[in-house]
């Protein structure tokens, strides 16, 4: 496989469209919630976790969406809050380790038929395919992604179960 400008361009275009669709609505929503102080009422459940990480309470939505939705959703939730460099570093380390990656990009060929079907039903259903259980952070997450790369990996993950 050699480098093809057209193919990379198409991948970049696809990614850009997904990023746009994700970031703009979520950013606007987060900004509205933040300005009208509604974030406090939503995120009070996650407050201990956020404080444990050293982040303000409003960043809890960003953490949760990074764990369950997408890295870009997490960035969009965290961007309007006006966090400092230290908080962004904390977010980067945490979300870099534990974020659920939207599997559309690279592994589309395995899920494409199903995705075409569900894309008409709604984005909430697509979240199911991007969903990664946050509790399985350390190595279950890893072979969850292994499973999606190659279905033969299912044998591998079964044999790895302690």
């Amino acid at each position: 496989m050699s480098f093809s400008f057209k193919k990379s361009f198409k991948t970049a275009l696809r990614s850009s469209w997904v990023i746009l669709k994700l970031i703009v609505p979520i950013y606007i929503l987060a900004d509205i919630l933040f300005y009208y102080d509604l974030l406090r009422h939503i995120t009070f459940i996650f407050k201990p976790f956020a404080v444990f990480l050293g982040l303000p309470q409003e960043a809890a939505l960003s953490i949760v969406s990074g764990l369950f939705l997408n890295l870009y959703a997490a960035i969009a939730f965290a961007a309007p809050l006006g966090l400092g460099a230290k908080e962004w570093t904390i977010l980067a380390v945490f979300l870099g380790i534990a974020h659920s990656r939207n599997r559309n990009y690279e592994t589309t060929r395995y899920f494409a038929p199903l995705l075409n079907y569900f894309a008409f039903i709604g984005r909430s259903l697509r979240r199911l395919f991007g969903y990664t259980d946050a509790k399985r952070m350390v190595f279950f997450l890893c072979y969850d992604k292994l499973r999606n790369v190659n279905t033969r990996a299912l044998r591998l993950t079964q044999s790895l179960d302690p």
Binding site: M1, S2, F3, S4, K7, S8, T11, A12, S15, S16, I19, L20, I23, V24, Y27, I28, D31, I32, Y35, L71, Y72, I75, A76, A78, A79, P80, L83, G84, A85, W88, T89, L91, A92, V93, L95, G96, I97, H99, R101, E106, T107, M137, V138, F139, L141, C142, Y143, K145, L146, N148, V149, N150, R152, A153, L156, S159, L160, P162
Partner: protein
């Protein structure tokens, strides 16, 4: 900051959201092209055929976990890696994968890249060693 009306707030938010999206799109597109060039390089193709165990970690750290995991599986099925090694590499990759793209996404907001990369590498080595040792004992 004080806005006069909801409409002003939404307009301002949309403007900022668009500018942020454009920044992220530029970064991601650039990364896609650069990584595609790396992936298509003949050195890469040659090493995919006869891999050694360090290759999957390298690929996972730089390119991203999907590609690293693919190479990891290929290496396991060829018999080059044992199960405990796969567990080690898997844990390592889980913590420290796709370092370039993920950290750059946060650096545009002003995070400290050295801290991010350093912490993730140190943490990955630590956790992977611990988990591999635990697996050996169990």
């Amino acid at each position: 900051m004080h806005y006069d009306s909801l409409k002003a707030l939404i307009l301002n938010a949309s403007y900022e959201a668009l500018s942020l999206s454009i920044k992220i799109i530029a970064l991601v597109s650039l990364l896609i092209f650069v990584l595609d060039v790396i992936k298509a390089h003949p050195w890469m193709q040659k090493h995919s055929q006869n891999v050694n165990s360090g290759f999957s970690i390298l690929v996972g750290v730089i390119l991203g976990i999907t590609y690293g995991a693919g190479i990891l599986i290929a290496e396991y099925e060829k018999g080059i890696l044992k199960k405990c090694e796969v567990l080690f590499i898997g844990t390592y990759l889980m913590i420290a994968h796709a370092m370039i793209e993920d950290t750059l996404l946060f650096v545009i907001f002003g995070a400290n890249p050295w801290l991010i990369v350093g912490m993730r590498l140190v943490f990955a080595t630590l956790m992977a060693t611990l988990i591999a040792k635990y697996y050996h004992r169990a």
